[in-house]
Symmetry: C2
Subunit: 216 residues, 2 copies
């Protein structure tokens, strides 16, 4: 049975899972859920994923949600190519790099938070944009410090692209969405460029999806 993913062109979590599926060489069908107009909060989607988050993956009779658990699930049921290092400390490092954006930066810039800033603080479009830019910058600063202190390797946690690279590339995709200037973050930007030179990443980028606006 074809793998199905409920996703959205602009969703960075959807980008992560899309990229992992392509790195694993797995075919999938994507069903769009427009998070900009709040479709993820409607009952029809809640019946599929009571968490109301994107993406949701339907695989082998399982309904999976949250991008990191989905990617680790795919890595466990389809072990090759591995998306995590083999040793526990290396795996912890890769997962920690992932969470710098998944837990510390990206949650602050998602639509439901941007919308609530308007409600709670009367923040206008510019103020909300500045807020997002601030947290995107904080994520890049952290990545730059972490990546600069490691011996050079082709990818963030080894010689092949994996979970950490997917999440760092996702942070770069956020930067693209908000037109954030990454020139102050050369180690992170160079890693992301290496990722997006690969079709697995490039085809998964928000701007490459059906429904995306023409890239600026």
């Amino acid at each position: 049975m074809t793998i199905q993913m409920y996703g959205f062109w602009r969703s960075i979590a959807s980008f992560r899972v899309r990229t992992a599926l392509r790195l694993k060489g797995l075919d999938f069908e994507e069903i769009p859920v427009d998070i900009l107009s709040g479709k993820q909060f409607e009952p029809a989607y809640g019946a599929i994923n009571a968490g109301h988050s994107l993406p949701t993956l339907l695989h082998d009779g399982n309904v999976l949600f949250q991008s990191l658990p989905i990617i680790q699930y795919l890595d466990e049921v389809h072990p090759e190519p591995a998306l995590l290092p083999a040793d526990p400390a290396g795996r912890a490092y890769a997962r920690a790099l992932a969470l710098v954006t998944v837990a510390d930066a990206h949650p602050l810039t998602v639509p439901r938070v941007r919308k609530y800033l308007g409600q709670a603080f009367n923040a206008d479009t510019d103020a909300v944009h500045d807020w997002a830019m601030h947290w995107i910058a904080e994520g890049f600063k952290t990545y730059e410090r972490l990546l600069s202190q490691r011996p050079p390797s082709p990818f963030a946690a080894g010689s092949t692209p994996g979970l950490a690279d997917i999440c760092i590339a996702g942070h770069m995709a956020s930067a693209d969405l908000f037109e954030f200037d990454v020139s102050a973050f050369p180690a992170t930007a160079s890693l992301a460029r290496r990722c997006f030179a690969m079709p697995t990443f490039a085809l998964s980028h928000p701007f490459a999806q059906p429904g995306a606006p023409k890239q600026v």
Copy 2:
């Protein structure tokens, strides 16, 4: 060598790792880093963890950061008792429950975010408190929907406490810190009560740590 953890009484991520260490029966020494006065951003701490996040765990020569990767590392190097289900779909579900707070709710209420709301939007103490209450409520709503649709089991993802329970109990500890009323969320509150009835969880609660204010 004794396991060392840089943590703080009020840090929910520190609570999670503290609880996991106790569930594994591992002795540890906790070194406090006052996140309310921004000690985690000072160079001395940055030399230990360039991510400047709490907690940091020193184990067997490894420097580990971010609570979920630390807990998964502990589960890999000390497999008993297991903190994740054995099957890939069960593991994905447990990890997804964890991320409902780790990625979607808790990052919105941490000190650096509360502080920045004041800077960016001139939010006063009450407005920042309301913001935190809003996202704590959103987390509880999601947990209540997810937990209510599963067949009853003693813990969130099985018959023994694990990663998901640690994170849900951490969400409850956030509620305790902010004096958030959980009566509208009986399934989640009942699970958290079951957790905090165990010394492993109770001894790890923010209010049980040295330096914590007397519980209200």
